[in-house]
């Protein structure tokens, strides 16, 4: 057992390296990089500072100290820098219009500004170097700095992960509460109308888009009870009421979506177990139908169901994106969505890696739990 766990943990390493290479590689393919997006979003206050930086360098090259230089000297240097840029663009500095001059100044400042950002973020480096920088940082627990707002990705994740976990656990609880009893009922009443009804219900649950359900719920709540959902997220420990008002409904919607698959699985597992010999033995010794189901069938059937609940983590994370976006819950999925829109490389890589680690660890935990609970399983 221990050997198996160690082997699995060792196998995680290549998988994680693969994931990080894939994410970094995908981001290299992104056509517009973060810098273009940042600049297009109007974050150009840095532009003037960048121009000053160029002029300062020029002054230093001329042997003057930028801190103590006179205003005339500075203006002269500024003009020289702009004229050079004009010449590079093929415009005669002597006959250049003022608008052309300010244009040249902007180009200079913007190019320098973008280069500065690229250097800070490491975009000027090669693919492997960039990947190595990130990975070595991540191993030490530093996930980098977000490009937008310059916030630490660590802090951002620390704030958002509990939110996502709360939503995910509640949704899982809802889906189990719906799926397991109904799944057992469906199996026990196999091929009767209850079964047909529940099976159709399960397929219907798989087919309802969560964003449709959420839209309808919000609209009807507002129409019938004049109720509107809170717009500002509150931490559970600070303000449990607002927090639950905000998270409960999305969790139920998410849970309903998950319950379809789980119901079908529960049904299939219970049917499988009901065919086993020990069920026949239990019946033969005169146990009532009710006791056979609760004591023998359900207990044994739920084992694989528990493991599948673990396997649903990716579905859960994916599904929570839509609900986080609609209800304005500041979770991990929403963060990734916004980061992709902003081409916020460090954030995208970090979130993908964190989620991948969670998925891989949960899978491992599920396999091990399964083996511990079911002695028939031999790990190899």
């Amino acid at each position: 057992m221990l050997q198996y766990i160690i082997r699995r943990i060792l196998l995680m390493i290549p998988t994680l390296i693969g994931v990080s290479l894939l994410v970094t590689g995908l981001l290299r393919l992104l056509p517009a990089d973060a810098v273009d997006i940042l600049v297009s979003q109007g974050e150009v206050q840095g532009g003037l500072a960048s121009f000053k930086e160029i002029v300062d360098e020029r002054l230093t090259a001329d042997g003057k100290d930028p801190a103590t230089v006179s205003i005339t000297d500075r203006t002269r240097a500024e003009n020289a820098v702009i004229n050079e840029q004009l010449q590079r663009e093929g415009i005669d500095p002597a006959s250049a219009a003022p608008s052309q001059k300010s244009q040249a100044q902007n180009t200079l400042a913007l190019t320098r500004y973008k280069d500065n950002i690229r250097e800070r973020v490491g975009l000027d480096k090669g693919f492997l170097e960039q990947w190595w920088d990130w990975t070595s940082g991540a191993v030490r627990g530093d996930l980098g700095t977000s490009l937008v707002g310059s916030r630490e990705v660590n802090d951002e994740l620390k704030r958002r992960i509990p939110v996502s976990i709360e939503l995910g656990l509640l949704a899982m609880f809802v889906s189990i509460a719906i799926a397991v009893p109904l799944g057992v009922a469906s199996a026990v009443m196999q091929d009767r109308w209850v079964d047909y009804g529940l099976r159709s219900f399960a397929i219907a649950m798989l087919a309802i888009p969560s964003f449709f359900l959420a839209t309808i719920v919000i609209a009807l709540a507002s129409r019938w009870w004049n109720y509107s959902f809170p717009t500002h997220y509150a931490d559970f420990w600070d303000d449990p009421q607002t927090n639950l008002e905000m998270v409960l409904v999305p969790a139920i919607i998410l849970g309903i979506g998950l319950s379809g698959g789980l119901l079908r699985l529960t049904r299939a597992q219970v049917l499988e177990v009901m065919r086993q010999d020990y069920i026949r033995t239990a019946r033969a010794k005169g146990l009532s139908g009710h006791l056979v189901v609760t004591r023998h069938a359900v207990r044994n059937a739920l084992l694989p169901v528990v493991t599948v609940i673990g396997l649903q983590v990716p579905v859960l994370v994916g599904g929570s994106l839509v609900l986080e976006a609609i209800f304005g819950i500041p979770g991990v999925a929403l963060y990734l969505f916004q980061s992709i829109g902003n081409r916020d490389f460090p954030a995208i890589i970090a979130v993908n890696m964190v989620v991948a680690v969670v998925i891989i660890v949960v899978n491992l935990a599920v396999d091990v739990t399964y083996a511990v609970l079911d002695p028939r399983i031999r790990l190899s």
Binding site: T15, P31, L321, V355
Partner: protein, 333 residues
Amino acid sequence: MAAADTTSTLYGDFYLRRERPVLQRIVLGTADFARRKPLGAFGGLILLTVIFVGAFSPWLAGDPTRSDLSALLVGPGSDHLFGTDYNGRDIYARIVFGCQITALVGIGTVLLVTLLSLIVGVPSGYFAGRFDFFIQRLVDVWLSFPAIFLILTLVAVLQTSHGSGFMGLGRGPEFGPNPNDGEWFWYTFPRTTIVILALGLVLAGGASRVIRSAVFATRANPYVEAAEVLGASHTRIIMRHILPNIMPTVIVLATLQLGIAVLAEATISFLGVGITNFPTWGQMLSGRTRDLAENHLHLALFPGLAIFLAVFGFNMLGDALRDVLDPRLRGSR
């Protein structure tokens, strides 16, 4: 279905079995399927309807992009069957034209998923051993992402806000010409292709696992061993013995992926990422619809029901096909 494939005489099934002509077999088989699985047949009907409406939408509805500013947010009625949206566009027409995207993305994704999962799953399951181990670790990586993240990243990678984008697949113009005049396809084509590529790449990971295990199971059959003993090449064994025998699994898997693909397309359209220059069902639920739905429920109701009905039907069809063709898959999603 076996009973419908052949006719037997009064003397029983042992001899004088005559194969019916192909067309007759298809018709009888379908009729038999419809009798045994009415809900599955209903799903098949929905699939055919979506394809038909998509193919003939210009003849079934007016212009879905025309804004009638004198009829903003009109409820369902005789002028506009499903009402109009906040730009005065006819919701019925938009749903009818949305069928084109649903059908294209659904079928395109399913074809791509099937192809990719066969390419990955068949050799992995057939050659087994170290090769399989290596391939499966790659699939592990593939599956370690939540699908929606990978889809969104891929769509972002493949599209660009300016320039021609990856492999010449630009986003296409924001506003295409009138979809009724037949030019629409080439305006939507780049973005539709991008969405199909992203969905196909993402969904193929899980599907390849199913194919792999089906190949494993088939490979263990004595007839495969017999073919090996007779000196058949790998290609021949795969083409003649493995592929035909995993066909039921492939068909069922493809049908089940159809619903997933349509739902995923609707989701990314809802998020405002996928196809934005042509009416799609998911897109109709996004943007101002959510704020306006309180007083104008029809805005959200009809496109939502369209998605629900389509996905429900596709799932029903896949489910019924699985029961008939491949009971082994029962219980998996």
